[in-house]
Amino acid sequence: MSGLQRQKASNLDKPLSKGKAEVNVATFALMFSEIVQYCQNRVYTVPELQNKLSDLGQHVGNHLLDILFVRERGFKREVKLLNMLLFIKGNFWKTLFGKDADKLEQANDDERTYYIIEKEPLVNKFISVPKDKGSLNCAAFTAGIIEAVLNGANFPAKVTVHWHKGTTFMIKFEESVIARDKLVDGR
């Protein structure tokens, strides 16, 4: 191979793009549909399929985290829980999906649990769920992205997806996150 002599361009040598590039929604929808089909052929149950989609989402989230904080927040990470959640609901959602998330709520009975509610997530827009798989919500992919972003920003959490008021992403933080946040608040 002549590949040895040829210099591969490194990503670090290129300036970070402004992230204004866009593609047609059909391009994305058809590709996502292929991803769902591929995953479905390799699993037996709906929860397995959702896990698989979430894994793929995490790959995306891991890579997005740094770009977003560098570009949108001038290299500064959020340290407060509420600010982080607002960042996800606002800036983050807007960059990815062109709009803020519809709602952010905290569970009444559990301070570790938050909900982000989106009536019609982008990834579900072109997917009709078959009758025998009523519980399937392909926004598990988006949940994976959120989870990876939270974990990467050191807010370890588990994000799951539910059909409720459209789609609800349930974010359950680890105990340590809440404890730390109280400490930060106390100062």
């Binding site: 292929e34 591929y38 793929l56 995306v60 769920v129």
Partner: protein
């Protein structure tokens, strides 16, 4: 759960979400198949499925009629189709003397932002999904073409080059036993 698709709405999706999602897919395929050639094949298959469906969307929205020759097809692929779906316009060049083969040259392939091929993946055509998409879409308009990667920026080339070769016109096939 009524989710009405807002068709006819020329909405766009963030390019990075698209790029990274594709990256997640390729990474998953590499984990599942552990073989570059197999991954190439799988990507082409997925692309084919996409192309077969994408062409309908394309014909419905782009108002293009039947092409008179392969040169016209090439122009429409680069100036209309690529523009519409990926926001780029590849350069059409390197026509063969017979006019049945040309190259699409891309300088800013959106699939490969943020991507570096690790060593040991010399036979992986990261963007092989293109080949499938083009093949699938053209097959639906009665053209059998062969699509190959010639140059790839991920492997150090200065442009990404896809070579399309016209094989034959497909006649509408009649199902067996129905003539």
């Amino acid at each position: 759960m009524s989710r009405q698709a807002t068709r006819g709405d020329p909405r766009k999706v963030n390019g990075e979400l698209f790029t990274l999602t594709y990256g997640a897919l390729v990474a998953q395929l590499l984990r599942d198949y552990e073989d570059d050639e197999e991954v190439n094949k799988q990507l082409e298959k997925m692309g084919y499925n996409i192309g077969v469906r994408l062409i309908e969307d394309f014909l419905a929205r782009s108002n293009t009629g039947r092409c008179n020759d392969f040169r016209e097809t090439a122009d429409i692929i680069s100036k209309t189709a690529f523009k519409m779906y990926l926001g780029i316009t590849p350069v059409v060049s390197n026509w063969s003397a017979a006019g049945d083969e040309f190259s699409l040259l891309m300088e800013n392939n959106p699939l490969i932002d943020f991507v570096e091929l690790p060593d040991g993946h010399n036979s992986l055509n990261y963007s092989n999904i293109f080949c499938g998409v083009l093949k699938g879409a053209l097959e639906m308009v009665q053209m059998e073409v062969d699509v190959k990667f010639v140059q790839d920026q991920l492997k150090g080339d200065s442009v990404t080059e896809l070579r399309l070769k016209f094989i034959k016109r497909l006649e509408d096939a009649v199902p067996v036993g129905e003539d």
